[in-house]
Symmetry: C2
Subunit: 335 residues, 2 copies
């Protein structure tokens, strides 16, 4: 069993190295791939220094690789998917390139693990980070009573735009403290001391692609074509965990006790909700943590069939690298 990471120098690639370093499933070798710029650098993983190879169209480059974690943007995924999968490699793709392809399963292991085994193109897509953390929290509710509508406002960290975006936010704050002018490159506007109601590009209906991913991907992952999500996605000056304020309407009204019990027993969910001790999930506390942390559970005051809650998860871990590794665990456990 050999694995590869494509995009080894990015924020998600680095986290994949961290996670694989803990040997979350049995594998023998690891290969790392990157752009020409990264090629030749080494990364320490599982006690060895591994040299980053340049990603090219060289025939047979991925021969002998069983699972390739690909996280270098949708353009790279589209361009290299055929090369990567040519000799039987399963490609677990972190980009948006194939998520809505009917021949590509879109998998969150806590929600739709079986879909991972129906991958005719040998591509399995990792959902968008905001969608992953939302569906992990929605699944236990949906099992109590089918969900009809979700309203969700996000508070998304800089990490979603990559390692260089995190550097930019840090640099903006350093510049402000030093009284220097601020540089803006990675986001459309200054993020320090600001919130930006715009992630990814705008679509014709006024929603951004990020918002439409939450709408479309949720239906596919949850096998729920009539579950309608309306999202407002907002970038906030936080480093790496995403937060979401959610309102969920179910077919039947649910008591908070039932929802609480469902959260407590749900895989991948950590229920953290104790207002008396001012305990609720916050992104600053949860960078580097695995579960989707849920709290602030209460009735929707505007809807007898509604509940409201708050969910926080590390965007780079469960929102990307960890979910991809969990998909690999599914595949290797069955193999």
């Amino acid at each position: 069993m050999n694995v590869a990471i494509v995009g080894a120098s990015g924020a998600v690639g680095r986290e994949l190295i961290n996670i694989l370093d803990t040997k979350p499933f049995a594998f023998d070798g690891v290969r790392l791939f990157g752009s020409r710029r990264s090629a030749g650098q080494t990364r320490r993983i599982c006690g060895k220094d591994v040299v980053i190879e340049e990603l090219t169209h060289e025939p047979g480059l991925f021969r002998g690789v069983d699972i390739a974690f690909v996280s270098a943007g949708a353009g790279v995924s589209r361009e290299y998917a055929a090369d990567i999968t040519a000799h039987g490699t399963i490609m677990i793709d972190n980009s948006s390139a194939f998520r809505m392809d009917p021949d590509v399963p879109l998998v969150v292991p806590e929600v739709n693990p079986d879909d991972a085994f129906d991958a005719p193109r040998r591509i399995i897509a990792n959902p968008n980070c905001t969608t992953i953390q939302m569906v992990v929290a929605l699944r236990p509710i949906h099992e109590l009573s089918p969900i009809r509508r979700v309203h969700v406002a996000t508070y998304q960290a800089a990490s979603g735009a990559g390692a260089s975006a995190m550097d930019e936010l840090r640099q903006q704050h350093a510049d402000i403290v030093a009284g220097r002018p601020v540089t803006v490159e990675k986001f459309a506007h200054q993020l320090a001391y600001n919130v930006i109601p715009h992630i990814d590009v705008f679509t014709d209906n006024g929603y951004t692609k990020e918002e439409m991913k939450m709408h479309l991907e949720t239906k596919k992952i949850m096998h729920a074509p009539h579950l309608e999500v309306s999202a407002t996605c907002v970038r906030v000056p936080v480093m790496r965990a995403h937060s979401e304020a959610l309102w969920v309407e179910t077919e039947s009204p649910l008591t908070l006790d039932r929802v609480r019990a469902a959260f407590r027993s749900a895989p991948g969910v950590e229920y953290t909700d104790d207002p008396a001790s001012l305990t609720y999930p916050m992104p600053l506390d949860l960078a580097g943590c695995d579960p989707v942390h849920v709290g602030r559970l209460r009735k929707d005051l505007s809807n007898p069939n509604g509940i409201s809650f708050w969910a926080v998860s590390d965007q780079i871990r469960k929102g990307a690298a960890l979910n991809a590794v969990q998909i690999a665990q599914l595949l290797t456990a069955k193999a």
Copy 2:
């Protein structure tokens, strides 16, 4: 016509001084009141240096004051309301002390100006900042078709917790840049690089008081007992303008064109919505501005009778000082 500011040293008091300095209505004298700590300091206003007087229970202290702007917290408002109004002074109160009192009107001049003239206790309450900016944007929609439900997630600036909270956020970032430990006093947790889903204290139903203010005050201001608001109020590391992501359900479905036209002609609303040029309201741009800026207008994908939009307004101006001055303008225009 004489006016007074109680709480002259606070964030809202300072902004009241700035606004009164522009002579927004005709008055002769200004008196300033503060705590013992502030008393004796002077503030420049309307070309004069005015000494801050200590707020005490001395009988007749407010004699000759026609309108007192009071912004020193609910405790001070409760303790001094009788003193302030004893000799005919109208108290425009920025605190939450009297907002739900049936004998105290709760006024946003763009929404319910007439209520200001029915103030048997000579107290007029300024609503909570998040509610003010929301109802200014809701009113034009409610006139097209009555609003049934509102879901709102807020992104609230440090300013809502006062001038010292803004200083704390600035200091936290300076400490992080310098590698020093961070001090937390004004908020329950570190705000720099974080978001905190908790503003004001928790109530029995799991909502915070801040969230319940949006629920209860909106009904009173809009004379709409069946308009149900469910809010999630979140502090974000922004200095002084609040943002809100809103979903509004109306009795009849509305086209975006009608809502857009209503926003464009609504008093106090600035419609700023051009995705093509990446133009949408953002708090960093709008500190110090008067209107409620609205953008990101689109259909609610989960509800045929729903629309979604984004609203940003300066918390200290329209959210507090400006609204109070506008109430005074109503009173003086009629007088």
